[in-house]
């Protein structure tokens, strides 16, 4: 069963296309990250999935066929990007209220609210007013509010923004627990490190369009296969002997200085279809002593910058002079 099926949704605000023909599928029981730079259309996409705004085109199905909105509401927990609480409400009442809003009975809502406060370490604050809590604590109350009805599908928009490292860990643990309980977690973020640590599936969106999606492991393997090699030479003489090999366009597409601290001299992209093995053979053939030769598995951050950068360039080339998109 699919937790979320998004088919060709588009949304336009005035003359700005926020989301342009986006489709993706979230399998049940996974942690799925929607990644993208600021203003890429992440929040708009999540809002359409939650029926807060209606797509101009396309449609959304949740949990194997439920329509977003009233029908799906008891099964879905959503933490919006812009979020607040009622400042004068007591913490326990606030969470229980959100539970009742999602269809729980009053008694059930209170019981679960107590459990969540316990889990998040906020028990001693239960009778305090929300306004007495720090920002981080309020954020935890918001998480509890989004999950109190034990929804099958949890959607979190930028959940880590504004959290300190300790609370970020707490949230990561909570997300993993939810997955372990068989629930699906769909979240958006622009923090690649967070996504890399817990996502199984990712969807990268930029300028309202899909750039890439799939299993994180597959994506990384594919990116590694695209051939990026880190290289360290035995001596400066070796580096000189290697120069003609590296300049051969049949082997090497590009080379650049390695990132500082990487203990490599060069980082290079292999020409299309060339296996790293051939480069190594050519280097050995040229009597180059190699201290380090490593096929680099790129970080999500690198993949993101690569793909989003390239995609943006492609869009710019296709639509010369169409600057309307950035204005809004």
């Amino acid at each position: 069963m699919l937790a979320v099926r998004v088919e060709g949704i588009s949304k336009r605000f005035g003359n700005h296309v926020a989301v342009d023909d986006v489709s993706f599928e979230v399998p049940e029981g996974v942690i799925y990250g929607v990644l993208g730079p600021n203003g890429a259309g992440k929040s708009t996409t999540l809002r359409m999935i939650n029926d807060i705004i209606a797509p101009d085109r396309g449609h959304v199905e949740l949990l194997g066929g439920l329509k977003p909105g009233a029908e799906a509401a008891p099964h879905v927990g959503f933490l919006p990007e812009e979020r607040g609480l009622y400042p004068k409400m007591r913490v326990l009442e606030m969470i229980a209220f959100m539970g009742e809003l999602r269809g729980l009975t009053g008694r059930d809502a209170r019981r679960r609210a107590e459990a969540w406060l316990e889990r998040l370490g906020l028990s001693q604050w239960r009778r305090n007013k929300v306004q007495d809590l720090s920002k981080g604590m309020q954020q935890k109350v918001q998480f509890a509010s989004a999950m109190i009805h034990e929804p099958e599908l949890i959607i979190l928009d930028e959940p880590w923004s504004g959290l300190d490292p300790i609370n970020a860990d707490v949230l990561r643990d909570v997300v993993r627990e939810q997955k372990a309980a068989g629930r699906t977690v769909l979240f958006s973020t622009h923090l690649m490190e967070q996504a890399e640590q817990i996502c199984e599936h990712i969807f990268i969106i930029a300028r309202g369009r899909k750039v890439l999606d799939g299993k994180l492991a597959d994506i990384r393997r594919a990116a590694a296969a695209e051939g990026r090699v880190a290289l360290a030479f035995g001596s400066p003489a070796d580096r000189e002997r290697a120069a003609p090999v590296l300049a051969d366009p049949a082997l090497c597409a590009a080379s650049r200085a390695a990132a500082p601290g990487d203990h490599a001299d060069l980082e290079l992209d292999l020409a299309a279809g060339v296996h790293a093995q051939r480069l190594l053979a050519a280097l050995v053939g040229a009597a180059v002593a190699v201290r380090r030769f490593e096929v680099v598995t790129p970080t999500l951050h690198q993949i993101f910058v690569d793909r989003v950068g390239r995609d943006a360039a492609a869009i710019a080339a296709r639509q010369p002079g169409d600057g309307a998109g950035e204005a809004a």
């Binding site: 004068k88 809502a109 989004a146």
Partner: protein, 421 residues
Amino acid sequence: MIRPRQRAGLPDWLVIARRELLERLRTPWFIIVTLLGPVLMTALIVVPVVLGRVGDQTARVQIVDHSGTLGEPLRLALTAEKWRAELVPPDTDEKELRRRIADDRIDGFLVVPAEAPAAGSFVYKGDNASAEHIMRSLNRVIYGVVLSTRGAALDLPEDKVKALLAPVDFTTRHTTGEDEGSSGLATFLVGYVVMFVLYLSIVLYAANVLRSVVQEKTNRVVEIMVAASKPRALMLGKILGVGGVGLIQVTVWAVMGVVTINQRGALLGMFGVDAGGWSVPPMHAIDVVVILTYFLLGYFFYAAIFAAIGAMVSSEQEAQQAQTPVMMILIIPMLCVQLVANDPRGGVAEFLTQLPFSSAILMPMRWSLGGASTVSLVVSIAILAGSTYVMARLAARIYRVGILMYGKRPSLRELARWLRY
């Protein structure tokens, strides 16, 4: 597809309404205003009257007598009323007299015309000329002195003049034919109080809806609420919850009012006032029903408008501006109170109590004055209920789009587009 879960608890609009209701009921302000509201309102009416009584009852005046005959009798009559009156020479310069007022040596001066008592005009100038009860007693004194002087000129003995001047008792009774009638003033006062309470509670609570919508928008809690529920339920719940608070308050006030009216003899007796001449119009159960019906309809009508305005704006300052036109419309019925009170059965009253913008405030008053027929009441309620329904539908559309919009206020064209969504 998973099996859709049934809601185990209350419907979402009810959960929201309960939260809005409890949040307001629990504030100390609600208790204070509910219990002390009538006291404060009564105080607002009574205190100025009482202060007027305990204030200066008399004055220091100088009499400029051009008639040569009335000066002394006036001085004596005023002195009998405990005024400090003295005669000054008729050729005293007016500038000099005004300087005495400016120096606070006297409160004012009375100029007796040469033609008096047959003709001419008495003129009083003083810093207390605006104090109504002082001017009334001055007028009474002058009237008495002039009449007895005229009587003496006609050779009427003093006791006959006294008999002529004996006060005439004049009573007014308000009735539209169904009963013997009740005190005209008391009837007007009851109608006026009913109108005022309705106006005040509709304005207070409908505007409270606006403020609460704007606050939810500015602190972004609306995002979480819309994620968990629907804008329609959010608006309905809020209007019902706030309205519930208002209904409780108005009911408490109405009960207090009925008790006060029924026990007025005892209550007035406590202040040493005889309630004998005060026959207040009887309050029937139907009157209370009419008042509560119009409160609810009027409240819903205006709350819907205010909720839509709240959804359109992004800050309290903007809200202040945007609500001004509605506040102006709400003031119109207040300004038309006299039109209805003077002629409750007239065409103007009929028009104003059928118009949905003013009927909620003016109809209960007109009804309590006995000016409205049952048909006219039913038609008015039907028009108001219908308008409220239409207004709520329109407001819900604006609200749905508006609450998630921040920044610029929509233009009329954008608003029209929101309505079509």
